[in-house]
Amino acid sequence: MDEPRYDDVQVGDTLPELDAGTVNRLTLALYCGASGDHNPIHVDIDFARSAGLDDVFAHGMLSMAYLARLVTGWVPQRAILSLSTRFVAITHVGDRIACAGTVLEKLSQRRVRLALTARDQSGIVKLSGEAIVELA
């Protein structure tokens, strides 16, 4: 990996975008098992209907894992000091998630603050987050 250097990074620089692909029912089943989040609302359509929904919907943390992949694709994981997100909108089965990041601010101690978003195929923001990373 060509690691970004603090001295070279500018506010407004963008991270290489991550296309996380389409969230389908298999994606949700695999994430349910792998994550240990067995909330049936994400995998059991009967349960989802009992909650008044038309269908299951994706775990917010699945898309947050994509945001984490975006950041670890840019810097080694040990550089990440914090990672935060708000879950702004629900991700539905069939949505295609893309993650983007921008350098918001250069801080002291070789740290930068990143703005992170996960959007669907229509550009609707699903997650709006931030990370602070310490660069080489």
Binding site: A34, S35, A65, Y66
Partner: protein
């Protein structure tokens, strides 16, 4: 309304092992093809002692507690009314496969918005490793929808 006396409530602490197989499954489930998350040799080449725990997997390990419903039962809330509102991680040290992580969760805050139609439960969890070193602080904000 969720009883505000639960603010400050300390939930039972628990310890969970970090298993390499779980990390590989998580990498598959999240489409992560970076070999350092699945291949010990690649992880070692990148300076890790073993497969690293990816940034959000600490949240998953917190679900491996003896009673994952402990907080919902304490507050009397149903899965159907819940949404994950926010998630925050502050990292202090990496964790790896083979570590044993201790989770210490507490209810940091409960508040409402929109005239009580939405309530927010803030859970803060401190994570330390088998050497007592601080690994991360997690903050989970759960939204409870009424009506």
């Amino acid at each position: 309304m969720i009883d505000r006396r639960h603010i400050g409530h300390v939930l039972p602490a628990f310890t969970v092992p970090v298993e390499a197989g779980r990390l590989r499954f998580f990498a598959k489930a999240t489409g992560n093809t970076d070999p350092i998350y699945t291949d010990e040799a690649a992880a070692r080449d990148a300076g890790h002692l073993n497969l690293p725990v990816p940034p959000t997997f600490l949240f998953c390990l917190e679900m491996d507690q003896p009673n994952p419903a402990a907080l919902r039962e304490l507050l009397g809330i149903d899965y159907r009314s819940l949404l994950h509102g926010e998630q925050h991680f502050r990292y202090h040290a990496l964790a790896h496969a083979g570590d044993r992580l201790r989770f210490e969760p507490r209810v940091a805050d409960i508040y409402d918005r929109k005239g009580g139609a939405l309530e927010f439960v803030v859970r803060e969890t401190r994570v330390t490793n088998q050497d007592g070193a601080l690994v991360a602080d997690l903050t989970c904000v759960t939204v409870v929808r009424h009506g």
